[in-house]
Symmetry: C2
């Protein structure tokens, strides 16, 4: 396979990485993907860390039905507008063999009401909350669900947009508007913590403008990392739903003043789309690049041996190191998870059908952060060769120092990936005050610019440049200015970008 | 709610337990359940332990599509016979608003080929293996998937049989018949280990007769625990699929002799049905009974306090205990997981709106194995009251001994639950040599009896008694005898029972 450069054809390069690292592949089913073991292992690491974060913030997991009655989708007007169009619809519940012995849908097994395969779960979850919430004492209800969802997408692409994808979704219920807003911000910050400290992604964070809100929400916030082609990724948003779904599904509670009140709600989710973000933010012209915090294997050992006897000797030689490493844990900086331990995973590649160089290549493609090489030469010197995946440097290290060195390297590699992404984002985010310059920069990069705050202006800019307002900057960075498009007053710069 | 006794109406009693312990509930969607946080936490503990067992036996997780093209189901003849009948069928991919502004299925968005919501995944997974397996070096392929599946069941019941349920499914591929058989038995034993040591379930284990095999399998094995109404539960089976799916999906590999050969396959799964088994095997007239190995909370602390000041004091008093307990791990006997650690989970119920007695009741219903009670009286004596959930005994224990005592109790309770189930099963499993006695005993209990080995006899017995052959007994328990029905020669006793 000829390596394509990012600058030649970035999306082809993406496909190559997904294939080379054996992350996922297309299936025989229309635009549904198969997530392969190595890709799924990364996804499980993401799940485990997020689950620990949910637990640390007192959220609990539950599970709600895959199917949504058609009538449910009609209940929240904006919601149906947004979701009900392209979706998988179950209309029948039986197949039969016809007279020609062919398998056909049994026309007599038609459902009275069609079921929609969940494109999102707000409606079915809010409906079930109706039975669970009676008084303010039942609140808050902080529930997370992990589920597959289906949207009949047109331009599909592995991890970014597929007909079926996997996600985690929070649907919380609160006794006041204030509490709901607090939860919305708090959990946005949990996502931000995860993005920085585990996914090694620098990002902007802030509120979305009115016209970019989630269908049915009062307020939407998002975090915005830059992909290497200068686009933003819509992947982490947090919604304050106000009372709209409570009204649509009649979810009321008795408040502390003994009055019936509609419940206040929030929701947010992340999906397998994070894997797209991970690749598009970090990978270079040569490889997938994987932050050690999410790597399924941290250390691969490639022994140089000809006989099983030699292999045995090498394994004996390495035993003290692997024992030490297996007891070590990585703990990354995180405000949410102060002591979350990630076990160092070691793989000794004992395959005697493949040459060491073949193995080198395989593990390079999967971007295992650290590789140890041992043969008779190293053993004679009481050393091990350590190869560091990010800088591709090799060092010979005294056997007693190997475990410590490996631990140091894993932290260093994690930090370097983050630092590189931060530098790249900052270098390619431009403060712009002029519309011509805006049009030039926005073609490729992030722009911080003033706008007058009207949807009309935002839409005109979008029509002319394909860029959208990704988020407002935080309050402490506010600055009064003039809209780059209309010249009218602006109360603060916002982040513009093209986005996936 | 009036407590119903198991002897009055066992299935009503079951429903009460599911409701009281807040495990799950019916949803607004046809026979789909909502798994509530406490029930889902038990299911997650099951998942975590099984995942550790899969890892210990070198299996990896992956994910395959939710939808199966209709034509796939037709490819394996027995398979379609068994599964294709009652299933959810996606026929359209778009809704639209009609002239009356009602949401309807868009007739123009009809699929060329209908998609079936997976009732099981053999076909889609084997199809994807075709691209992955080329040579014997690609084998074995040991893949596990966690997924929701849908079967259009008629008589539904929470956890036992619902339209949608969650499960883990293994689909492995091997280079020889022998290896496939070895895997089938090995992983059956993994299930057996899990059932004994974590679910605290005594059980029979063995091969299923020809007519009870999985559709498309060469051989099926199962493990058979007794529910308290004397029925068996069909929940853990292990299938040697031979080459039938490989032939249907044309999955071939180059073997060591350089010949093209169809791949040898196995599959097996467990589902949320295990939760039905857990309740039906252990729970009594009063409560859910939960083995500590699977309990979401091991220790609940109910403090007696009137003011926040008093609560603070109690928490300070308990701090050394909770600290000690939080560092403790439970390690249960298991051949597969020698050192799997289960963190002791502690919950301090600080709610100041509920009385301690109200809390006692709540945690009794959820069957938290150990309860600690502390008030000013206990503090004055430097003690803590420990309540042991299974025997309902209370003891006052010196504060320094509490952690150790709690640990001991958790192991003891686990053992007692298993011992009780073993005793119950053994007492109610009858060795029978006469058909009249058989008919009498099989009405309610397990029976070990001789049969002539023909499907015809098995079917006649089933017609007359509703009992099926659950499994053959292991080879070392073989004994020649005469069929209780036909009087013909029998090569060994088998386990008969009615089953869920």
């Amino acid at each position: 396979m000829k390596l394509i450069k990012r600058s030649e054809n970035y999306s082809e390069r993406y496909n190559q990485i997904v294939q080379e690292a054996q992350l996922a592949e297309n299936s025989s089913v229309r635009w549904c993907m198969v997530i392969k073991p190595y890709g799924f292992a990364i996804r499980e690491n993401i799940r485990n860390i997020l689950d620990a974060m949910f637990k640390a913030t007192w959220h609990v997991n539950a599970y709600f039905p895959l199917f949504i009655p058609k009538s449910f989708l009609s209940k929240e007007a904006e919601h149906v507008e947004h979701f009900a169009k392209e979706c998988a619809i179950v209309t029948h519940y039986r197949l039969k063999l016809n007279d020609e012995k062919k398998l056909v849908v049994d026309p007599e097994a038609k459902l009275d009401e069609e079921l929609i395969v969940r494109p999102t779960s707000e409606t079915i979850i809010r409906d079930s909350y109706k039975n669970r919430i009676h008084s303010y004492r039942d609140l808050p209800l902080l529930i997370n669900q992990r589920a597959n969802v289906v949207r009949w997408e047109m331009r599909t692409r592995i991890f970014l947009r597929t007909t079926e994808f996997l996600r985690q979704e929070w649907h919380t219920a609160h006794a006041s508007k204030k509490e709901a807003e607090k939860e919305t911000i708090k959990m946005l910050n949990v996502y931000s913590d995860f993005a920085s400290n585990y996914m090694a992604m620098y990002h902007f964070i802030g509120q979305k403008p009115e016209h970019e809100k989630f269908a049915g929400a009062d307020r939407t916030y998002g975090i915005e990392p830059m992909m290497q082609d200068g686009k933003a990724l819509q992947a982490w948003t947090s919604h304050n739903l106000g009372q709209s779904f409570a009204k649509a599904f009649d979810v009321k509670f008795m408040n502390e003043k003994n009055e019936l009140e509609y419940v206040w709600a929030t929701s947010r989710w992340v999906s397998t789309r994070l894997l797209w973000g991970l690749i598009m933010a970090h990978s270079d012209d040569n490889w997938l690049i994987l932050p050690p915090a999410l790597a399924p294997i941290h250390v691969v050992v490639v022994p140089f041996f000809k006989t099983q006897e030699e292999l045995k000797e090498i394994k004996k030689y390495l035993k003290p190191i692997t024992k030490k490493l297996e007891k070590m844990n990585l703990i990354f900086d995180s405000k949410v998870l102060k002591k979350y331990k990630i076990k160092i995973e070691i793989k000794i590649d004992e395959d005697d059908q493949k040459s060491p160089w073949w193995k080198f290549n395989e593990w390079e493609l999967k971007w295992v952060p650290v590789r140890l090489t041992v043969g008779s030469k190293e053993m004679a010197e009481n050393k091990v060769e350590i190869y560091r995946r990010d800088t591709q440097e090799k060092v010979l290290v005294e056997i007693n120092d190997v475990a410590k060195k490996v631990e140091e390297l894993l932290y260093e590699i994690q930090k370097n990936i983050y630092d590189k992404h931060e530098k790249f984002t900052k270098e390619n985010t431009f403060v712009v005050n002029d519309y011509n310059e805006f049009k030039d920069k926005i073609e490729k990069w992030f722009v911080l610019a003033h706008r007058d705050g009207t949807t009309e202006t935002a839409m005109k800019i979008q029509d002319e440049t394909k860029a959208t307002i990704r988020c407002f900057l935080p309050n402490d960075e506010k600055e009064i200015g003039k809209c780059i498009y209309s010249g009218k007053e602006s109360k603060g710069r916002v982040l513009f970008a093209k986005a996936y």
